[in-house]
Every structure is written in C-alpha cells, then in structure tokens.
Symmetry: C2
Subunit: 571 residues, 2 copies
C-alpha cells in the first residue's frame, strides 16, 4: 500500500506508475458519462487519469472500462465451491467483490465458520466481505452446530471485512421486540443491517425499518419494492438460481432513485455460474431491457459500495481501488481483462493468477453423529392417518397432506405406489442422536435413497428413501465423506458429491462438482425421481420458516402455526 506522499508523487507524475491503460472509453459512474481516458494504476489504486509514464502500457484501443462488479448479497455456500474456486469462476466475469452472508457455515461451525471464510479469502483476487449472520440458529426448532448471540457479534464488529449485520430473517422477533434480536441489531449500530422481509408492509414494515433495517432483497412485486424504497430501504434486485426478481423490479428504477437499488444473487448454483453468469448476468439483462448502461453499471458497482460503506470502491477514479474490467461493448459486456487491486487477474475468461489462499481448500470435518441412537428409524403405526409433506416441484414451500399410511406388521413403511416415502433428518453436529422421521410425497423414488448434508438452515443429514437400510446407508456414506450428497440403490452407493468443507462445500474444481451433480441427478432419476433438482429441493425440506410442513431432527414442524406437530393427523 502506498503512503500519502507516494500517492501524491505518483499522481504528479514524479514517480512512474505501474500500469497505464491507454485509450479507454471509461464508464464513469461518478460523472455519469462515458468518456475517453488513460487510466494510471500504481500499486492497488487508480492514481489518476491522464498521460502518465508507466512501467507497462496497455493500449485498449477504445475498449470500455467499467468498475469491477460487486454482489451485494449472497451465500457463498450455495455454490458448493470453495472460495478460490468460486473466485476463479466469477472474477473472469468481472466480479471483484462479494458481500457474503456465511449463514450456512455459521450454522454448522459458528464463529469458527466465519473465521474460516475470513481466513481462506485473504489475498484472494475476489474481495470477500462479510455480513455477520443474524440468525444462528435460524429457529429454535432444529439442532444447529452453533449459536451466535449479540456477544459474538460485538467480538467481530470491528473486523475490517465484517461490514454489518446480515439479513434479519427473524422479522417476527423484531416486531415482537425480542430482546436478543434487538441486541443483535444494536450490536451493529451505525453499520448496514440487511433485511429479509418478503411481503412485509404497512406499519409492520415501518417498524422493521425504524428498528434500523436498511435493505431488502426479498421484493417480488413492484408494489412491494416501491413501498420499501419509499420508507427508506435500499432495494437489492435479486437474480439467483432460485429467486429471480429483475423483471418485476426494474420498472421501479428511475433517475432520482437508482442510487438506492443494486444487484445481488443471493444463491447461485454451479450450473448458473457457468451458464448464465454472476452479477454480469444482471447487468446484461438490465441493459437488454433498456436501462441506460451507465445506470446499470452503477447498480452493479458504486451503489453497492456506497451502501456498504466501502469507501473508494465501485468506481474508477483517483484514489479508488484499481478494480475494473475491460469489456468489448456495453451490451454483451464481453470481458477481456479484469484487474483486482491493480493486478491483472483474469483475461479472456480465465484467471491468470492463482486464487487459492492457505488452507482454502482443506476439508473441515464437521460431523459428530451419534450412530448408536440413530440405528432404528422405524415408525410404529396404529392405522391412524398421517401428516405427509407435499412437495411442489420447483418450489421450497410444501403442503400438508393427510394420508393413510402403508403399514406392515404395525410399522409404517414407504409406499412407492402412492409415492409416500420416508424422510429422515439426523442430527450431525453435537452427537445428540436426535433424529426426525416422517413421510413425504413428490420425490417418486421406486427404490433406494438420496441424501445430503446440505439441509437449510442447520444442515443436518437429510435422507429420503424407500427402505430403512438404504436410508441409513446413505446417511453413513455422507458421514464417511465428511459431508456431501449421495444416491444409493439397494445397498450400493451409485453416485456422490463429497462436500468435505463443513459438509457444505467441495474442495474440487467446478467441473468436477458439476459432473458429480449431474451424476447424482441421473442416479435419482434412475431411482424414479421426476424432479429437476431433487437434491436442491430436498435441502429445503428442513427449513422451518417456510410453510407448510417441514421436518427437522427434532420432529415434524407445522410452519403455518410455527410449532411442532404430530406425525399422526388430528382426527
């Protein structure tokens, strides 16, 4: 890092700069213009615009330069990639920073998980900033690997890369003035505190905002976003693998409010990273839909930086971090070069530097299953009807079906004819031996089982299958790998994706992750599953905040009435 005197001397031209990007067309997000510029870089910053003596000169021949792109909200774990692998795939697309909520790894490993993300993203060409997870555990209705309270937050508050409080999903807690929730909000007083409040409006929304929540990424309609914007929230326009709101929200953006809107992905699966692209996908789509390219670039860079208080980021100007991308045009935004902190890090879609940090792809063992208490997952029946989780293909909400169980010798079994399968959630963090058993309709397996250690939000082992033997085998295989996803067929492992980093992320390249995912999906199909993304759908079957019926290691949960319920339906 240059000291002040060095910056001044370089800017004056007294010392040579490192790199001069000559003949650029600069998308200047500060002056709101596109203009010719020679961009001088020294060390990690843009030192000035002008004709400078440089150690290295690149003639851009009129190519466009935009600030590097920033994702304002995502869960890195959703990519199932290690940080260097994620970086290696998004940096060549022009992403130079993400603001991550490490909610998943924190639910597994607590503060250690956050430290892991911080440590393994040091010196990464992708700048990884953290919003401190606000809801660990997400609810008291499942066993998580850790609990993070207001005191933990105070400990992390002054960490430079921890920018604020991550999405406060517990908006009922805010509205009920739950003291611990309020303490968490106050722990990050003066810093950004992100929201998560789908559909909240009127006085409840006013209360949520007055409490200090400054953003929302859950708007799905124009009206919802308009109300939130009017009341003072920043609107994160989201296009991820699951939720995509850009079409709905873009009409909100006008000349006088665009500064309060920016792009996020929330969750992005490996396939989408490769096929659609990261933040650049939103940029392209916005421009294709008629947004002025300068304004679109602002929503992918400087607006985000300003909300998060990332001074001297998000623009290409004197003293700003030299994070930028060179693109052929402002329509397809074909990325030629990416500079991160003044260093050329990617060219023509490939990294030209390593993105690996010390320990960043080392497995982190996070399994502690009490197998002794988990041998028997049988359920006795007395003929009474049972509550069954009803899957809606492509959605994370479920229905609560009431069905007559198939019973053999007083034991309720999967019924492949009516597609009623056993689902099991096995506690994997603390060796408690607690496990939940229930039934689910919609996965269509005719034999075998599928399972995984990605199960929002506590990420216990979740398995759906036909026989108890295959279910237990699947769970064991997951444990053996230190986490991951499996398919088993009649006593045999037929496909697997190891996720040895906390049971959430792979230590392998994206190509291998994708290949394994394809094999898993094919194996599930082979077992009879009609769903497009069975493993992704399964991972939401333990997510209690989302209605209507879910299963955790502590039992079947009625997410409409927010309480545990019985396997057996009320008469």
């Amino acid at each position: 890092m240059l000291n002040l005197a060095q910056k001044i001397r370089a800017a004056l031209g007294e010392d040579p700069v490192d790199i001069l990007l000559k003949n650029a067309m600069l998308v200047n997000v500060l002056s709101g213009e596109i203009h010719e510029a020679d961009i001088a870089i020294k060390d990690d910053i843009v030192i000035g615009l002008g004709d400078y003596q440089a150690k290295q000169t690149l003639d851009l021949k009129g190519k466009f330069v935009c600030p590097g792109l920033i994702d304002g909200h995502l869960h890195l774990e959703s990519s199932m990639l290690s940080i260097p692998e994620f970086a290696a795939n998004v940096v060549p697309q022009g992403t130079i920073a993400v603001v991550a909520d490490p909610h998943e790894i924190a639910n597994v490993m607590g503060a250690e998980g956050i430290k892991h993300i911080l440590r393994t993203s040091e010196n990464c060409p992708l700048k990884v900033y953290i919003m401190f997870p606000s809801c660990v555990p997400a609810t008291p209705f499942e066993t998580s690997g850790a609990t993070l309270g207001p005191k933990d937050m105070l400990e992390f508050r002054d960490e430079p890369r921890i920018l604020g409080l991550a999405e406060m999903m517990n908006y009922p807690g805010v509205l009920f003035q739950d003291q611990e929730v309020l303490d968490k909000i106050e722990a990050f007083e003066g810093k950004p505190r992100d929201g998560h409040a789908p559909g909240l409006s009127g006085k409840q929304l006013c209360a949520y905002i007055a409490a200090g929540i400054g953003s929302d990424h859950e708007c799905s309609t124009l009206e919802e976003a308009r109300e939130k914007l009017r009341l003072g929230m920043k609107i994160m326009i989201r296009e991820g693998s699951a939720a995509r709101n850009l079409d709905s929200l873009l009409p909100l953006v006008n000349s006088e409010n665009s500064r309060n809107c920016f792009f996020v992905t929330d969750d992005l699966e490996p396939d989408d990273i490769l096929s659609r692209g990261h933040i650049i996908a939103l940029l392209r789509k916005a421009v294709a839909k008629g947004v002025n390219p300068i304004r679109a670039v602002q929503m992918a860079s400087v607006n985000t930086a300003q909300y998060f208080g990332l001074r001297n980021m998000g623009a290409v100007a004197s003293g700003y971090k030299a994070d930028l991308m060179v693109v052929d045009d402002l329509k397809d935004f074909t990325v030629r070069q990416v500079f991160s902190s003044g260093e050329l890090v990617a060219e023509n879609g490939k990294m030209v530097v390593s993105s690996s940090s010390v320990g960043s792809v080392e497995p982190i063992r996070s399994f502690n299953v009490n197998w002794e208490k988990t041998q028997d997952i049988s359920v006795s029946g007395n003929g009474a009807k049972i509550n069954v989780i009803g899957v809606i293909p492509g959605q994370i909400i479920t229905t609560n079906l009431v069905e007559a169980p198939k019973t053999v010798d007083g034991v309720i079994t999967s019924d492949t004819e009516r597609d009623i399968l056993k689902i099991v959630v096995i506690e994997r963090h603390n060796g408690t031996g607690s496990n939940g058993v229930a039934f689910i309709k919609g996965f269509g397996l005719k034999r075998g089982a599928i399972g995984g250690s990605v199960a929002h939000d506590s990420h216990n082992i979740i398995v759906i299958g036909v026989t108890d033997e295959d279910i237990i085998l699947a769970a064991h295989e997951i444990d053996k790998m230190g986490g991951g996803m499996v398919a088993v067929d009649n006593g045999k492992l037929t496909a697997k994706l190891p996720l040895p980093i906390a049971g959430l992320m792979s230590d392998k390249p994206i190509s291998e992750v994708q290949a394994n995912l394809q094999k898993l999906n094919a194996a599930a199909k082979e077992l009879g599953c009609p769903l497009d993304s069975p493993f992704s759908t399964m991972s939401f079957m333990a997510l209690t905040p989302i209605p209507e019926l879910k299963l955790t290691d502590l039992g079947l949960f009625d997410s409409l009435n927010f309480k545990f319920t019985s396997l057996f339906a009320a008469m």
Copy 2:
C-alpha cells in the same frame, strides 16, 4: 431519544405517535417520487408513513413536505451573527443543518473557538456540524491567535458533531508533501476531507484527490467541475454573497451524477440572508432554471447528508430525523412550517421556539494589543517609489502599483488627491506589538479612517485612513468594543458595529447588525469612499493567499511570489 423497542411499538401503532402530518404531498428523495403520505412523528424521528393515532394531527391539505435543507459548507462567522441569531433567520427558511468550517474563530481563538461553536450550538433548532479547520494559521505570513496542528485534530476527531477536515486550502502543501499537511489529512482518515482548489487540474488535481480530498466548492467553470467530478470529487455548488457558481455549474448535473452534487453558500452576509435567502435560494434558482424539483431538493438535502455520513438525515422516511419543511409549492417553495427533530420550530417565516443556548450571545474578549509598541505608525521616505496595493472594486484580488509617495518632512503621508491612503494592520492576539504599514489606492477617503477586526484570515485590526491620528483612534475604538467595525472622522467616531464575540460576531439581532452596517457604509461614503462594500473589501486586504499585494501585521506581502516585499519598489 426512543430506544429500539419504543420505536418499534410506535411504528406498529401500539403506542400513539406525537404528531401526524396528514394529507402531505411528500417529496420523497429516496424513491424519487412525489406521493401522498401521512407522516407520523414520534420524539425526534419520523416513525412511519400511514394512518397513525397521534397526540396532535395537522392536516396539510395537499401541501408539499420536503426534507429540511442542509448547507454543506459555510463559515458562520461571515454572517457576523451569533449562532442563535443565524439560526433564527435561516431555520424559518427551511434550513435545518449546516456543516460549518469555523476557520475564522479558530484563527482568533484556536481550539477554544471550536469549542465555543460546539457549546453554543447545543440544542439549537439548527443542527450545527463542524469540519475541523485545516489551515490555522492560514499562512505563516501573519500573526494569528492560535495554531492548530495534527495533534489538536486527533483530540477532536471523535467528537460526534465534528465530521471531518475542513477545506484544505493549502493545496501547495499537499502537492509538496508537507509532512504536517499530510498528518492533518491522515488525522481524518475515513472521514470526509473537504477541498479548496480553484483552478487545479490535470496531474496536480489527481494528486490532491489521491491524497484523500473528497470535495470542492471552488469550481467556477463547467469544465473545471467536470474534471473534478470525473476524478472522484463531490461538487459543492456554491452561491454565497461573494462567489456565485450555480449558473455555471448547473449544466454539469445529469441523471447519473446528481447524487455527487450539492448546494453550499460558503459565505453569506446579513443582507443576503434576508433578501435572497439561505440554501432555499439555490433550490429556487435551480428549479427556475429547469432542474427537476426532486433532484433539486436532493441537492439541498440527502446528497449533502450522505457525503458527510449523516445517517438517517436528509430524507423523510422511517427512522430518519424528523427534519422537514412544509411548503406551498415546488417553485417558490414558500415555507409554511419547519420541523427540527420532530418539533415545530418555525411557522410562516418566524421562529416559534427560542434558538438561544447557554452563553451563545455572550461576548468573548479576544483582544491583546500592545499599544505601547503601536503608537508610532509613521513611515520615513527618501523619495524612492513605493509599492501600493491597488484595489479592484468588488474583487478580493489586488494589483501591485508603483507610485511616487507624497512626503512631508521626510515622512510619507496619505495623498488624498491621488487616493493613496495609509493602511495599517495591528496584531491583536498576543500583544506582540507587530504592525504592518503600507499604502493602498482605491478606498477614496478624503479624511478620517475606517477599520475593523475582521481581516482574513488572522483577523488582526485593519485600518485605512488619511491621518495617523484617525487611524490610531479607529484601532483604539475597535479594541475598546472588543472587536467590530468603525468609521472615524477627524477625531470622532461616526459609526460602529460592535462584534464582541471574538471580534467577529455580534451579540445583537440581525436588524441591528444590518442597520449598523448601513450606517458604516454611509459613513465611509461620507468620508469619500466610492466602494459598495468598503468594510468587506478591506477585510480581504490582509489575505496573503490571494494575489497580488497584501499587508499583514508582519509586513507587505507579494502574493504572486509568496514572500514579503519592501514598501519601497525595486528600481
């Protein structure tokens, strides 16, 4: 102040709010719309928009509500008013906050002056924020009342109302990497650091910005402002009593950059406060010139708040300070009501609460003149030509004239026939007895003398007159009043404006200040002075950074070559 739980309960409607402004047309600077709203206020904040139960309801009948106005850069001392009197005159115009650089009082009293401003503006309906003066003394070429170095800055850095470093006028010091200047900049690392760099461009400008300077209020041409904006500066668009740049700079503002521009006044004299108006004058003028009213209001409120890191200010939204004005229309912006921190403070142009704080109008004695050493202000001449300060009416720059002196018995005297008058600057802070004597052309006095204790930047006593007797009398009268401005005529005081607060500000109402100023101007005219604002012009005759020839207590100064020069012209 409400705690979090109280805010939430009020926003939910569980507790009644204090005030409901019903049927407002809200100029929403966040959503970029004008929309109907009922605005609920509790304690000092806007708690929400909606139909709330309130202790007091005001039906606005479709009147417009704008956020209260903010002046992003001014010197309060220029108004010559005490803080409560300044507030009482600008708050009814919708101004609810100023970011002041107390440069003048700091040059007189140092840190004590800054503390005085902080103390006497506590609990004022006008929120007074401070940028810490960067150049005390402004130059080493005169004797100031105090010196403020980087260590003083560190002491004040965490004071909540001190927002950053005030205009770094010493840009040569920045460019020369003067260590003390760099230390001052670093003392406010992470906070706004204002610039002052008229005409600076190219690599020098890059260097100034790369050093951390984030704004400029000295742009006088569109090209200058555009270059500064492109390189990363916020552009303060200034309309004060002296410099007025709005006409030149408004064409700069577009949809994608307006957020980086905002309104300031810099210096505003009593007459202009009353006749033209404070920030509202810029708002009216911008709208008259075709700027979208929402955008114009943003430049007078939220843009300023965001640059200075004033969270939850500058807009009317949940959790924001309830600082707002009710106006009849968005053209004349006729102000009906002004609310500051939730309290109705002004109505129909008049304050309805007191703006006085403890001690705010008490005189502060700041005079320590060594009269013994200051009795004799005669100058011997040997017939050689002398350097004479040439006044340019209405400007603060001067010329360096070379004239033959009028000499009587070997002593150089004023020559009323050729309008060459004696000018004297008498050190008044430390009793050093140093005084500068020279001659000036352009004030046109035929007899008597005029003088004052406002003399930028060190504010020593400055007097221009015909006879030594009247000059010394004027200086004595200024000392006696504890500061102010006087006119004397042949041994008699003919007009005066006492400025007993540090020799800079009055303890009286604006009407009295204005009346006295008018009398002073009339008295100067009576003595033969043709200038419109002789006292204002005189106050810049000691300002060494402005060319061409100036006089300080330490002698005649060549501001072109930045060094002292001799009274006697080189042959």
